[in-house]
């Protein structure tokens, strides 16, 4: 029988999960260090929902909430006890090269930069903008080149939801469209090469910034923190992306991170319950913890206590 906890899922959660696993292994001599796989939130959940047994994973990391369809699929395959654990928040920032212009972005700027069609004087026209200055005088005189997360990233969902749709719907012309078509319109992207979808990690985005001075990329907050010497961050709606601003909810582009525990495996796979509890303990993911140092924006103590209680009670979705 398997004696190692097996985790898979979101690449955003991966670093945090890895640190937690490593610390867990170092602190609990009686358990083996959990193995943390990646492959994206959906990939993880797909494996998670394959069924119960030693050759299925115990925990799925996710940078989004599990979807009802996925819960149904899980149940279909016999995975009925799904314990949801929220571990903290993640901020998403826009950044450009350190030697490029300073950006003070608003969601509508980003929308105008990437949309296939933009509203102009009440009409929808093909996107005419090639320079940020054409969009707004306050923006730098730079060719538009956006490097956004590919559709395989959970980050893309937040980006579209909190930036693009937001920016898009601020136009009266869009509001005038039938409700059902609004999102379609907002999310249609120009295909002239001004927008590049990055399927890889943030390092790839960074490499692209390095190769092309004009590029503006989307990063996770922790990644930006570790590369402050190379990239600088843009304000969104005039708010700096800092931990405090995100916790306070002033900075608009952030999201919660989760993992899901397979209840059926608790008590069978040694260390599973202990690992889940350790993950949300103050020592691992509270303020001043290694996870915070790694860029996780922690939950407040009350919320963490509830979640810990949920794990203990095997509270299932």
């Amino acid at each position: 029988n398997r004696d190692t906890v097996q985790v898979a899922g979101s690449s955003t959660v991966l670093p945090f999960s890895s640190i937690a696993a490593e610390e867990f292994g170092n602190n609990f001599a009686q358990f083996r260090t959990p193995v943390v796989g990646s492959g994206g939130s959906s990939g993880g959940l797909r494996q998670f929902c394959q069924g119960v047994g030693t050759n299925t994973i115990d925990i799925a990391n996710s940078s989004r909430k599990i979807r009802p369809a996925e819960v149904a699929a899980c149940k279909e395959n016999g995975v009925k006890e799904i314990v949801e654990v929220k571990i903290g928040y993640d901020g998403i920032v826009f950044a450009s090269r350190i030697d490029a212009g300073i950006f003070k972005l608003k969601p509508e700027h980003v929308f105008l930069a990437q949309a296939a069609q933009v509203p102009q004087n009440g009409k929808m026209v093909a996107n005419p903008y090639t320079n940020w200055q054409q969009i707004d005088k306050s923006l730098p005189d730079q060719t538009i080149l956006l490097a956004i997360p590919g559709s395989n990233h959970g980050t893309r969902e937040v980006y579209e939801e909190k930036v693009i749709i937001d920016g898009c719907k601020s136009f009266a012309e869009v509001q005038a469209l039938p409700k059902a078509e609004q999102n379609n319109f907002c999310l249609a992207m120009r295909t002239d090469g001004s927008v590049v979808e990055i399927a890889g990690d943030y390092t790839e985005t960074l490499a692209r910034l390095q190769a092309q001075k004009n590029a503006v990329g989307v990063f996770g907050l922790s990644f930006y923190e570790a590369n402050r010497d190379r990239i600088k961050v843009a304000t969104v709606n005039g708010v700096e992306p800092t931990v405090d601003n995100i916790i306070d909810g002033v900075y608009p582009v952030s999201r919660p991170l989760f993992f899901y525990v397979k209840g059926e495996h608790i008590g069978v796979i040694p260390g599973l319950k202990e690992f889940a509890e350790y993950f949300v303990s103050d020592a691992a993911s509270g303020f001043g913890s290694p996870l915070e140092a790694a860029g996780l924006i922690p939950l407040d103590d009350d919320e963490r206590a509830t979640i810990l209680a949920n794990i203990r009670a095997k509270k299932s979705l």
Binding site: N1, G39, G40, S41, S42, G43, L45, R46, G51, V52, G53, T54, S63, R64, R67, A69, E70, A73, G78, K80, E81, G150, S151, N152, H153, G154, R156, E157, E160, E161, I165, K179, A180, Q182, N183, N184, L187, A188, M189, T191, G193, V196, E197, I198, A199, G200, E204, A207, R208, Q210, A211, Q212, G263, E264, H265, I266, G267, V268, S316
Partner: protein
């Protein structure tokens, strides 16, 4: 007993059988001095060993395949009918619960008494099944051993039996490749059909826009769930072809000239050193090439383009193609080199004897004669180019647009498969299922390519031999 230890035991038995058979055959030989033994002693030994092991192994395989089914049906037959009726659940789910219980995994909610009983029964069946299997195997092995042991006679063709067994093993090995293909097709066909239940095949095969969307963006709004984006294959296919074509444009001339130079002009020791060095190009992980393309080649090409007044994107079909071309040089150079050296000297002599220069001989006689082999090498290289992923992910710009301009960013089928599969898509959504349709399409395309190539090669071969 675990299957593993059973196998170890079988191997031990085989060794014993081998010894017994050898000894016995020697004794038979001394008893019948007038009659020549058909086979050598070790053949008889091997035969007895095989007889001891193969039937038992067969039983093991069969048992492992069938026993779980038999056990569950036995357990199912035991279940109290009224409990089933009361639960109103489907039998499948119940059996899964019971087998989870039996494997010591937890189940949702407390287990019913009858479920626990069934689980215990199942466990008991499993352990007696293991016992039974061990016993049965022991009996069969012993029977096989004694049967073959007693059959050892001078005229018994032990070597034939062994050779037949070896040949069977060879056949089995060559079916693995076929099974793999079947496996690949099977693991994709189901999902592909599911995909086509969302998207009409015509839209997929002839669509000119690739924009699968996110299956769930704006789920909170509820308005987007119906929107499925467009799944046109053509932009991806054109991207794949464009990148592969550029790669081959780089690799074929370079690789071929390298092969020609090494095979025809270079001194032997230079060839012996240069060839493995160039082969290293094939062994460098593709991710390294990817970053090489992104960080070094891309900007270089962009600057170069700018200096001659061309707009070349740093990440474009050209960048990916060039770097991929570098990677597949050895596939063409090494294989072609081998093939060119195989062209008989007589042909070269014939041409030189007519007063042709060396290069004329190469171009007009050697290369045409080596063509079938070179086509094979190019095909392998092309296959590699079409199937390559990492370089394209990093260097082609990941922009699925229908374009024939190599200076533009493109995307390819393989990249899209990876993106859609590892992506954050619902695994039952067309966004994720399309990966299987893409995989199958690519599979069929390369299959056609190979068939065409085989036909071409055959045609030449008939002419040229």
């Amino acid at each position: 007993m675990s299957n593993f230890s059973l196998i170890v035991l079988l191997l031990a038995l085989m060794a014993i059988g081998y010894q017994l058979g050898m000894v016995r055959s020697r004794r038979v030989a001394t008893v019948n001095p007038q009659q020549k033994m058909h086979s050598r002693p070790h053949h008889y030994g091997m035969m007895v060993g095989l007889w001891a092991v193969i039937p038992a192994f067969f039983i093991l395989v069969l048992w492992t395949l069938l026993a779980p089914g038999v056990i569950s049906s036995m357990v199912a037959a035991q279940l109290p009918a009224e409990a089933l009726a009361a639960e109103g659940m489907n039998a499948d789910v119940i059996m899964r619960r019971i087998s989870n219980l039996a494997a010591n995994f937890g189940v949702v909610a407390e287990a019913e008494q009858w479920e626990l009983a069934a689980a215990a029964y199942m466990q008991q069946l499993k352990s007696s099944s293991a016992l039974l299997l061990t016993g049965l195997m022991a009996a069969i092995a012993a029977a096989g051993l004694f049967f073959s042991y007693n059959r050892i006679q001078p005229e018994l063709r032990a070597r034939h039996q062994i050779e037949r067994t070896v040949k069977t093993v060879l056949i089995i090995c060559s079916t693995v490749a076929i099974l793999t293909t079947i496996g690949i097709v099977l693991s994709m066909v189901g999902e592909t059909i599911k995909f086509f239940s969302f998207i009409p095949p015509a839209d997929f095969f002839f669509g000119t826009t690739w924009n699968p969307r996110f299956s769930t963006t704006g789920v909170s709004e509820g308005s987007l769930t119906g929107s499925q984006g467009s799944f046109g294959l053509l932009p991806l296919l054109s991207g794949t072809m464009l990148v592969a074509a550029i790669a081959l444009l780089v690799a074929i001339p370079l690789g071929l000239m390298v092969a020609i130079y090494l095979a025809e002009y270079a001194p032997a020791n230079f060839r012996a050193t240069a060839k493995p060095i160039i082969e290293v190009l094939a062994g460098i992980p593709t991710i390294v090439y990817g970053f090489f393309a992104l960080v070094t080649v891309g900007p270089f090409l962009a600057d170069f383009g700018a200096s001659i007044g061309l707009t070349i994107r740093a990440t474009s079909a050209l960048t990916a193609g060039v770097v991929m071309g570098i990677m597949i040089i050895p596939f063409i150079s090494s294989l072609s080199d081998d093939i060119i050296t195989q062209v008989p000297k007589a042909l070269r002599d014939a041409s030189l004897g007519l007063g042709a220069t060396k290069s004329e001989t190469v171009r007009k006689v050697v290369l045409p004669a080596a063509l079938p082999g070179i086509v094979g090498a190019v095909l392998l290289a092309a296959s590699r180019a079409i199937g390559e992923t990492m370089i394209v992910v990093l260097a082609a710009g990941n922009s699925p647009t229908l374009t024939a301009n190599p200076f533009e960013a493109v995307s390819t089928v393989t990249v899209t498969i990876v993106n859609q599969l590892t992506g954050d898509n619902d695994f039952a959504s067309p966004q994720s299922l399309v990966a299987f349709a893409l995989g199958l399409t690519l599979f069929v395309i390369t299959l056609l390519l190979n068939v065409v190539a085989l036909v071409i090669v055959r045609k030449y071969r008939e002419q040229y031999e």
